[in-house]
Amino acid sequence: MRYLPKSPADREAMLKAIGLRSVDDLFTPIPAEYRLTRDLNVPRQMSEPEIVDFFRQRSRENGDGYTSFLGAGAYFHYRPVIIDSLISRGEFLTAYTPYQAEISQGTLQSIFEFQSMICELTGMEVANASMYDGSTAAAEAVMMAVRLTGRRSVVVARTLHPEYREVLATYATHQGMPLSIANYGDDGRLSLGELEKSITPETACVLVQSPNFFGIVEDVEAIAAVAHKYGAMLVVSIAEAVSLGIVEPPRSADIIAMEAQSFGVPLGFGGPYCGVIATREKNVRQMPGRLVGQTVDKQGKRGFVLTLATREQHIRREKATSNICTNQALVALMVNIFMTVYGKVGLKELARQNLAKAAYAVAQFAKHGKVPFAGSPRFNEFVVQTSEDPYAINSRLLGHKMVGGLPLKKFYPELGNAALWCCTELTPRSAIDTAVGLVAESERSVRSAKEEVEEVTR
């Protein structure tokens, strides 16, 4: 096998040195009756060109070449080439968790920079080295709030990503953490009235996403006021990181749980992505996940180490703040490089282009169809109401090598034929115009159909 650095002679010599006659002697500890005496039923050994062909073929079956208007927690942004050039260096790609600081300073310093930039962007004081993704980060942030407040119940905005809600439900079930869902108002934002109804003195935290699942920026200040009034914490989930370039971060939040995929991470059919938790310094000891801290070596030279490990499973075992061990380090490095490339000015300009594309699309759609929650501030996503079933419209779009917005029925039945559309800096105006054209057509045909019916009934 081409990955194995041994010749038959090497193996012979080694067995001899160990004092064994055959390889089987190495496996005697395994009860004979269980030892496999046949080949595994997996594909035969393939050559490199065959493997490459296999995946090229899969790629062709996987929407290669389609223009997509999908967002909903996974965003298509341009990835500067140097991200892959740098993360492909074996020194980053094939290193383990930086437990041995002397030969891991590269990873450690880059994580320290990652933590620092996440703080700059979120307005928080500390950020961890990464969590699995935005959904688990939100769930762990809630559990963190539960530990910090000593309370157990949680209020969740219905405008939180539905799958994030599902994940939180899974995490909460056996923790005896009652969840109550607070609905949104006509403006597509969490209804403060609903919130007031659900929140109690037992509420550990309120969990809200901004920009929310509809792409709308929540009134975080107002929500914070309510939460804090009840002594509850405010946990804000951010699914579209690029929004931080032009949308004020939720500074009044106590914990921010973020999905940083938008920062240079490929869509990759849903993963690997990069979750991260940021909070105030005073909460750090209840924070899950790895943390890198600055220190000095024995000569007084600046260096970095993994720190506050007493929070973690390998030290505290069942008393740990979380069971997380392996995180998303290499993806966090992609995010780090992306943030460094765009930086202070570029991130703002990038966000501005997203804002402009979505604003243009909304204006176009509004001419032909309904755009609910139109009055509320939004970033790069918006809801479009059509008379026809969006699945039907989308299958027509597919014919034009386009993927339309995400039908919301499944998650919000009350919204009927609504779909969630997204435009980023990579969405060409021409594509928007084509999509709008097809939706307009659909509206016209439905209307004329209706009129015919009216004709008849008259």
Binding site: Q45, S110, G270, P272
Partner: protein, 496 residues
């Protein structure tokens, strides 16, 4: 330093500050295409929510970024540079073709919500990998949703709980051997199970009498790592399973050490009910400095109804699709479908190996561990003489007499050009040296390792202080972790 090493030397190396220290207003590494829609007034659109300032985010040029991260990278050790014998971590070769195929356009840019009609490629990859992994483990069904091993443990225990609940009693306890990895008890706690420790016997295996004594209707499952963290295969696995099953308990296997078993024996065949795999260990997906991983959970038929939703199914028309309607599911553990990019790499690894390659890989991994054991026996204390599988655990008992502990030996090993082994784990071995070479090491590299370890043992006798002061060859040495934890500096601040 009397003994100098054949393996490594020192070479000039670049210093590099923090990226913030290179920032200057007006430098830029970015450029956007001209906007093809009308400009907008953010203030008008966002009102109070408009952000005006991005704080101290850096402003640097592209070449500075290339140099920054290239310089940083040269401070890392990596598999690509040499042996990385971290016990329990399975630091094996990460094939480059895996990286190439993971970047093929349609695979890298597929959106998780794109219609199934144009997602058949991704679905096929998920299905094929799932089938291969169930075959390799000898289990009946699998979920690829968990993002890492610990996440898989949680998913597995949630299913254990759901299973018992379906039987009318969720049960209270999880038995965990004292040799277990920290994630096992931490996970049990997350799923709100009480952890009960199970002691090991003199041979480093589960103590059967204690197990029999502790097992009862309150015990939901035993979380067993096999081979365990001593690198020892639980020879009475059959009895262990029997004891559990007799009392309606389940056998959970932590599959972190599957690299000792693939193609040679299948957990499903020796009584395991539920287990997780670490694709970032056994199946060669890169560790990337700490992640990402992927922790699929494989189960026996009886647990299948409880798998997280969605699961991939073959539909009537023969195409693949996601099934969301799973009434007994424990629910979602992650948004979307898991770390798909890792599935691609793991599948490419299985294809490159085939049945013969996978078996040979396991054989080489075990051969390597035993070669090292043979080479260092006598020089370092071997607390358990039980046969080793893919890793071997020594202790620093002999060297401790000179005041040199496992971490000191580890630091000195750095001067010899190696990444240290795993230190101070498992807990049942005081001052453990946990060595897992994996199949990826050549005879030559392992002989250099054995030579280095022996040389260090001599140094401990001749000049313990020199070992205590190690490493001597690195750009920084013995960083002050106490200070770091006492007054944590977790982010850069201007003028700091």
């Amino acid at each position: 330093m009397k003994h100098m090493t054949r393996k490594a030397t020192r070479h000039v190396n670049q210093n590099e500050g923090l990226i913030f220290e290179k920032s200057s207003a007006g430098k830029a590494a970015w450029k956007l295409p001209p906007l093809d829609v009308p400009e907008v007034d953010a203030g008008k659109l966002l009102g109070a929510a408009e952000r005006k300032d991005l704080g101290n985010m850096p402003e640097v040029s592209e070449i500075e970024i290339i140099r920054h991260f290239t310089r940083l990278s040269t401070w890392n050790y990596a598999i690509d540079l040499g042996m990385y014998p971290l016990g329990s971590c399975t630091m094996k070769y990460n094939p480059r073709v895996n990286e190439a195929v993971a970047r093929v356009e349609g695979i890298a840019n597929g959106h998780p919500y794109q219609p199934e009609k144009i997602s058949q490629g991704a679905l096929r990859i998920i299905k094929t990998l799932s089938d291969n992994l169930t075959e390799i483990t000898g289990m009946d069904a699998i979920t690829l949703q968990p993002a890492a091993g610990a996440h898989g443990e949680m998913t597995g225990l949630l299913m254990v709980r759901a299973f018992h609940q379906s039987k009318g009693n969720a049960r209270k306890k999880i038995l965990i051997p004292d040799s277990a990895h920290g994630t096992n008890p931490a996970t049990a706690a997350m799923v709100n199970y009480a952890v009960e420790n199970l002691k090991s016997d003199a041979r480093g295996m589960v103590d059967l009498p204690s197990l029999a004594a502790q097992m009862n209707e309150d015990v939901a499952a035993l979380m067993l790592t096999n081979p365990n963290t001593l690198g020892v295969f639980e020879q009475q696995i059959h009895e262990i399973a029997a004891i559990l099953h007799a009392k309606g308990g389940l056998l959970y296997m932590d599959g972190a050490n599957m690299n000792a078993l693939v193609g040679k024996v299948r957990p499903g065949d020796f009584g395991v009910d539920v287990m997780h795999l670490n694709l970032h260990k056994t199946f060669s997906t890169p560790h990337g400095g700490g992640g990402p991983g992927s922790g699929p959970v494989a189960v026996k038929r009886q647990l299948e109804p409880f798998l997280p939703a969605p699961v991939v199914i073959t539909k009537g028309d023969g195409t693949l699709g996601f099934e969301y309607d799973r009434p007994h599911s424990v629910g979602r553990v992650r948004a979307f479908y898991g770390n798909f990019g890792m599935f691609v790499r793991a599948l490419a690894y299985i294809q490159a190996n085939g049945p013969d390659g996978l078996r040979q890989t396991t054989e080489d991994a075990v051969l390597n561990a035993n070669y090292i054991r043979k080479g260092l026996e006598g020089t370092y204390d071997l607390p358990y003489s039980t046969p080793s599988m893919h890793e071997v655990v020594f202790s620093d008992k002999v060297q401790a007499k000179k005041g040199v502990r496992t971490m000191d030996i580890a630091k000195r090993l750095i001067d010899y050009g190696f990444h240290p082994y795993t230190t101070a784990f498992p807990l049942i071995v005081p001052g453990a040296l946990m060595i897992e070479p994996t199949e990826s090491e050549s005879k030559e590299e392992m002989e250099l390792f054995i030579e280095a370890m022996k040389s260090i043992a001599e140094e401990v006798e001749e000049d313990p202080q020199m070992v205590l002061d190690a490493p001597h060859s690195t750009r920084v040495s013995r960083l002050d972790e106490t200070a770091a934890a006492r007054k944590p500096v977790l982010r850069w601040k201007p003028g700091a």
